[in-house]
Symmetry: none
Subunit: 121 residues, 4 copies
Amino acid sequence: MIQIDYRDPRPIYVQVRERFRELILSGVLPPDSKMPSVRELSSTLAINPNTIQRAYRELESDGCIVSVPGRGSYVCQSDAALLARRRELTERLRATAGELRAIGVTEEELIATVKEGNTHD
Amino acid sequence: MIQIDYRDPRPIYVQVRERFRELILSGVLPPDSKMPSVRELSSTLAINPNTIQRAYRELESDGCIVSVPGRGSYVCQSDAALLARRRELTERLRATAGELRAIGVTEEELIATVKEGNTHD
Amino acid sequence: MIQIDYRDPRPIYVQVRERFRELILSGVLPPDSKMPSVRELSSTLAINPNTIQRAYRELESDGCIVSVPGRGSYVCQSDAALLARRRELTERLRATAGELRAIGVTEEELIATVKEGNTHD
Amino acid sequence: MIQIDYRDPRPIYVQVRERFRELILSGVLPPDSKMPSVRELSSTLAINPNTIQRAYRELESDGCIVSVPGRGSYVCQSDAALLARRRELTERLRATAGELRAIGVTEEELIATVKEGNTHD
DNA sequence: GTGGTCTAGACCACG
DNA sequence: GTGGTCTAGACCACA
């Protein structure tokens, strides 16, 4: 479910956070489903529990999960989180398209690239 | 020409490097034009010369500029650099579009966003 | 009567305790009235009996209820509990008003806020 | 400037964060002023640097400070942070007033308490 | 069992 | 020097 890539320059807690955010916002992990416990995930991934906890903490402050001490962590997708994520990604798409256009890529090529993803995901 | 944004989480040397890369790859800084000297730029931006030096060093290893000891640095846009940049940005575009599609954004909206940049930049 | 809010960061036993304290000190639950049994309440709220037990234990040590083994728990509002609660809340009111004043809220606004509650509760 | 109270049930990082938030939002620490470095403060207070860093990290995500790796942390009071704080405190004031009224405190007494703070702070 | 806090200490990147 | 990440391991409160 979660894969850590040690060649990825991003910190581990960011990789874990982003991966879960994708899974939650895309609906793979539905609301009210249980997250793996901090200890369980940390031993599965061979990562320090503190690192996992930091990822969970940030997911909680983003409104993606709720953590209940003594009971576990649960998916809790908030509209605000979904909207914020959408805004962030849309802006990145716009900026990336702009940079590609600046180095000479045509609009047709851009649109082709965007459509490409459709077959993969 | 170069603007440092202290709210940008990226290190300063990365901001400088990326900004120059855009200017060079997009043709604003044409091949053989002279780069500002390290000392000059560092005093203009009130930034440690080491930081500028590092940005220049990486631009050189990317094939974007050449530094001639004692004479300064010159733009030297290599096809390899342009191609690598293009590949990197295209992949980012594809991935971002995929994520947006995963959270329910339609293809029409994606294409509209991509076209949007056209009027701004 | 009792509502658990899982988004509330406070432990469940604290939520239960505080809610009962309000009900008792405000007179909604009059002296000598019977508290729901631990088992009953724990099954109604789908909460571990230990958690309810702890809330009751603390209410008892605060002088808000008395538990009679084998017969149940009864409301027993002590003047000391009422006074302590009043002191605690008054201090919190004073401190909060002070902080608001520090960030520029006028006395008129403070008083308006305090009066506001009158219509709601 | 910062005082840790080990009898305060709140975690240390919360005490540090809240104390700085007060100082910043009330203008005692003006925008662009330098925060003590993580290491400096941690040794002054005899607290682990990680704990201080967590407080700083949360202040940063609240828009109260900005941390620049290699350069230090700086006050950066955002309007959003001020507004959020004001809303939070106003709600607490309203709720506390409501509870006091519920246990029989008169409006006159409430207003007197609110005015009281004026002479202290 | 769960999540949460804290410490001690290492290492890295940045300036 | 600065902030940031990560680990190992302890301890606590809660259910």
